[in-house]
Symmetry: C2
Subunit: 186 residues, 2 copies
């Protein structure tokens, strides 16, 4: 490699920031390049098309989810059947700037070409399978999991009516429900 470069990550960050600022349907390559402090040519060198850029955004989103989930699993010293579910929920309740920006990748990709979300479907499918394989009962486990997703989606569209306190209460109740599921299993 001629010159060590982290341009790809810088550009991906810039892309998320642009989506945040101008909306998912107005993420143009020129804006992303400017935001990243790179020329159009530099962007095209790293990502040969807009689709390639969006694909990379989705890939990074998925990888980040697995990293966050893994971190949460390690935090839970007790590793019962609900570990994957709990970790997924804790991860999705984490919402620093980085996470909320990354969610916007979903909207950007969906606006340009819904097919780009296919890897996300695969990942979600795998996550669901892991949750269920650990021995939880399908329906109640899915309801808790879907509830976390629902909240995440409302926030993704910036439509959530819940304040921090309410969010926290909901999270607590979710974790309590999972504990209950684990007890019933024994």
């Amino acid at each position: 490699m001629a010159r060590k470069s982290n341009s790809k990550q810088v550009i991906l960050d810039a892309a998320e920031a642009v989506v945040m600022e101008v909306g998912a349907g107005h993420m143009s390559l020129d804006l992303v390049a400017k935001k990243a402090g790179v020329s159009k040519g530099g962007l095209m060198y790293n990502f040969p098309s807009k689709e390639a850029l969006l694909k990379a955004m989705i890939t990074r989103l998925i990888e980040q989810f697995y990293v966050d989930r893994e971190k949460k699993i390690k935090d839970l010293k007790k590793s019962g059947p609900g570990a994957f579910l709990k970790a997924g929920i804790l991860a999705s309740f984490e919402h620093d700037d980085k996470r909320s920006r990354m969610g916007l990748s979903i909207l950007a990709a969906s606006a340009h070409n819904p097919g780009l979300l296919e890897p996300l479907k695969q990942a979600y499918q795998a996550h669901v399978k892991e949750m269920l394989d650990s021995g939880l009962k399908f329906e109640p486990a899915e309801i808790v999991s879907l509830a976390a997703d629902g909240l995440m989606f409302w926030e993704l569209f910036r439509l959530s009516p819940f304040n921090e306190n309410q969010r926290e209460k909901i999270k607590k109740e979710m974790l309590r429900m999972i504990d209950q599921l684990e007890v019933e299993k024994e």
Copy 2:
């Protein structure tokens, strides 16, 4: 009135169909006009801007939700504290072509201008308030409600991994949980 015309509804239907076919980020006025069997000028006459069109799509989506919910409330002859919640869930599990197309309005509006979703936020806030005012406990009621939303959103992005059988099981369990909530309240 010079001549009765239902062009507006025809155009709104066409807009939804176009979003369905080409994706939320590629809904152009020309395509909508062509789909509706109307000229560009005819479209602009009925909706003076793209924003106006998208706003009307969101408005119709909200109104349709209330209509569907009302219908479900009437179907439930027993009207316990969980009536609004149950009706909302039953309505969101209904997914004929019309409903799933209308959901796409959210993506189209969000892609063009996220601010267009403000009325949706108001409506959702009101729906949540109505559910809670009827006397249900906040956390568990919200979890069931959010789970239905979560499933709806996954389907909106066409990422749901659940088949009809699993969907039905989840719905049944949701209704059971609400019954349980009503019993505990007495």
